[in-house]
Each structure stands twice: as C-alpha cells, then as structure tokens.
Symmetry: C2
Subunit: 235 residues, 2 copies
DNA sequence: CAGTGGTCTAGACCACGGT
DNA sequence: CCGTGGTCTAGACCACTGG
C-alpha cells in the first residue's frame, strides 16, 4: 500500500498524508501510529523525512510522541492561537488610519510596592512613569500607562518620549527581551473614560505586559483600548 | 575561534550561541550572518545542525532567511504571543479545581441573520442553540453560548449535551477544524451577571470563536468568563 | 550564473522509559 | 532489556534569487 507517485516524497507530503489519515479516522484518537521506521518503509523515504513531519505535528499538538511508547493521536489537541504583538503604530497604520501619539505625563517615581512584586524587584528602586495616548484618525485608540525601571534602562532618563513612544524606543534600545502578557476586561474610571472618549463604567479591553532582559526587569505596561476594541486571530 | 568543549555540539547549543551573539550585538540588526557552511565550519558540526538551529529562529521571527541573500537579523521582530486554546475542563483541572458542567438550555432555531453573515452562510438554515455553564470548585467560571450548524453537523441533534459539553463533543466529532478567534470586553447584563455571580454592569472578558471544517461553517461560540478573569501567556 | 538556503538520504549512536 | 523517538553526520541535489 505504498503511496507512489512520479516525484519523490517530501516531509510535507508525509505530513499531509498523516493529517489526512487522522482526519479520516484511519488512525482514530488514542491510536498508536506505526513507528518511524515502518512509515519510512511504507512511504519509501528516509526516516529523517518521516521524523520531521511527525515532529512538526507533535509541536502543533496533533500527536503525542514518547520514546518506546511510540506516536499517539492526541484526543484533545490543544490548539495554539498566535497573536502577533506589534507596536501600536503598526497596528494603526495597518488599518490604513493616521497614527498620532502624545505624551501625557512623565514622572520619576519610587517603584510602587505592587509593581516590585509583579516584576520581581527586591530592592527599592526608581522608575520612570509615563502616560501616553495613541490615536487613530484623531480618535482615541489606546491609553498606555508605563513604568520603566531606570536601574535596568538608565538611558531612558535622557530619551525624548514626547517624540517617539516608549514602546518603540524600548524595542530599539533593548531588543529580544522576554515578556509575560495578560488580557483582561476592566471598567473605565473617570480618568480612563476621559482619555478614551467613553463614559465611566464602560467595559474596556486591556493588555498588560511585563518585560525582562537577561533576567532584569525592564518595564511594565498597561495598554487599555477604546470601547468596542476586538483582538482577532485565526488558526 | 571555535566553540570547543568536551561534548559534541547540538543544534540547541548552536541556537543558544546565535541568540547570544544577536543579543550581544555581535551581529546587530540588519546584519548578514555567515552562511550555514561557514557557521558549520566554525562550530565544528554538520550543516544540517546549523540549519535546524537557524530554521527555528527564523520560524520565531528572530531572523529572516532568503536564498542567495543569506540570513539577516530582524530589526523589528514581530513577537508572537501564543495562547494555548484548550477545552475549558482542562483549564479548570489545570488549576487543580473541581470541574462541573451544566446544560442550561437547548433549542433548535433558525440560524439568526447576524450569525449567517458572521460565518458565511448564504442560505437560511437551522442551528442548535445551547446555553451552558462551567464551574470551578462550584464557582461560576465560564458561561458558554453556542450555535451549532446542524446542516454541517447533523449528528449534534442526537448528542446528549447534558452529559458532555458541546466543545468537547465537537472536538471529538470534528477534529482539526479552522477557526477565527476574537477577544473583547463586554458589560454584564442582568442575565450574564446572574449566570456568572456578579453584578450587572461588571466588565467581563469574552472569547468568541467561529469554526469551519473543510470550508463548511460548524459552530460559533461566545465564552464569557467570570469577573476578574485573566488570560496569560509569555514569550 | 553562482551562492545561498531547503531538503533528502543512509547510516549511526544515544536517551528514555515500558516490559 | 530493547524498541522507540531524538539527534547528528557527510554528502548530495534542488530551488530560488541577487548580481
């Protein structure tokens, strides 16, 4: 029952065929697949080719692989929804809207207790506290409240955040950091409602992100979006 | 300048070293990296090993690769936040909480106009409309409002949704579908507040998902979470 | 056209983990 | 113990694309 054709079989072909067999219930949930060696023999290709195909499917959660036990069809595949987290300016420009940015407030403060706990700072320290607004076609789009740990990023004290947003500035300054992200719904208080052009009590979508570079806390940011904002993706 | 050690170098070692050099600005933004052959020579390993390391980094967006041009450090890496979308039962069990499920309502209805537009149904059709509650340790966790297109999934009419949630049932019945997901913040009306044990006017986090299988609309679901819910991830 | 990444192969050794 | 996946290798050919 070899899958034969005029061309040599690539890992993408193997991948497709395996997915097809799982979908067609040739290999139902919790079934043990043939071993890599057997599949390679059936498909007439090298084991490395089968391996790459199965490894990708395992990374995506479609199958589970364990040494000795073998490869099993995952009964409840956990799908990964991927959100591309980009700079607000690009999001807005991607909507074909005009982007405008404004710095509302800039203050050097003692890092608040709750924030130190949140990002793992044992010692008291100073933070640069920034309030910013991002507009799309002159309508409020996102309100940004940010803390930058000046011990980690001393150059932030000299940066001109009235010209370029702290997010873009930080990306250029400290690329490739680690981050924790969370999404929540919040209720607009008077200040938020004013910034975002809505009424107090409105439900708003918020994204929070804490960022580290080489183990040191860099920044924490709360990005609250205008009423009605939706974050979309597909898989 | 070979990286030598007592052990043979694996692709993970190569990967780490490349990331380290990018972070240390040995290879700054927009730099062209040495070719795979050169790196393999420097690291003293096979080209396939270098290839796998670089391929992973390219998949993650850290570098861009093109034939002939070579491998370049990405100046504005678009980071992907990955959310593992799993069955709510697993989410709750993962919190070491007791999971309880209850079917609130089940109705066969005409597919509403707005929903047909949302999922691309030209013809009038019937849908199974379900209201469900998911509890963690007997506390309301998620309210689920779901529509199942019975033309696509006729067997849904015979399923016993008082025993197993529609999400789990659908995953078993129609695995590996495509989906669009969106996140929003909503304000609790009287009914939602009652289901989720909060007050009307509260801000709630909602996830919506539309699902297709082989191009045919399968289901649309609104999952509204208890007040204070956070969806977290890291990268 | 020539250099780069993309992929495949056949073989090998290793590490894990059921039996 | 020993079968399975995990990985590495050395070599090869191919596909794309910049110059």
């Amino acid at each position: 029952m070899t899958i034969s054709g005029t061309k040599r079989l690539g890992f993408q072909d193997v991948r497709r065929e395996v997915v097809a067999r799982i979908q067609a219930q040739v290999w139902p949930s919790n079934t043990l697949l043939p071993s890599e060696v057997e599949l390679a023999r059936e498909f007439g290709c090298a084991r490395a080719t089968v391996n790459r195909a199965l490894r990708e499917l395992a990374d995506e959660g479609l199958i589970d692989r364990k040494r000795k036990r073998g490869t099993m069809v995952n009964p409840t595949p956990a799908r990964m929804a991927k959100f591309e987290i980009e700079v607000v300016r690009k999001t807005i420009e991607g909507m074909n809207a005009d982007y405008r940015y404004s710095l509302v407030q800039r203050q050097l403060i003692d890092t608040p207790e709750w924030l130190r706990g949140r990002i793992g700072l044992d010692q008291p320290s100073k933070s640069l506290h920034l309030l910013c607004m991002h507009y799309a076609n002159s309508l409020p789009f996102q309100f940004e409240e940010r803390w930058i740990v000046v011990d980690t990023v001393p150059s932030a004290l000299d940066a001109d955040f009235s010209a370029v947003g702290p997010n873009e500035w930080l990306i250029a300054e400290m690329p490739f950091s680690n981050a924790e992200i969370s999404f929540t719904a919040v209720t607009a208080d008077a200040a938020l409602a004013d910034f975002l052009g809505t009424e107090p009590g409105a439900s708003l979508f918020r994204m929070e992100r804490a960022t580290w570079f080489q183990g040191n806390p860099v920044t924490f940011v709360r990005m609250t979006f205008h009423a009605g904002y939706r974050m979309n993706t597909r898989y």
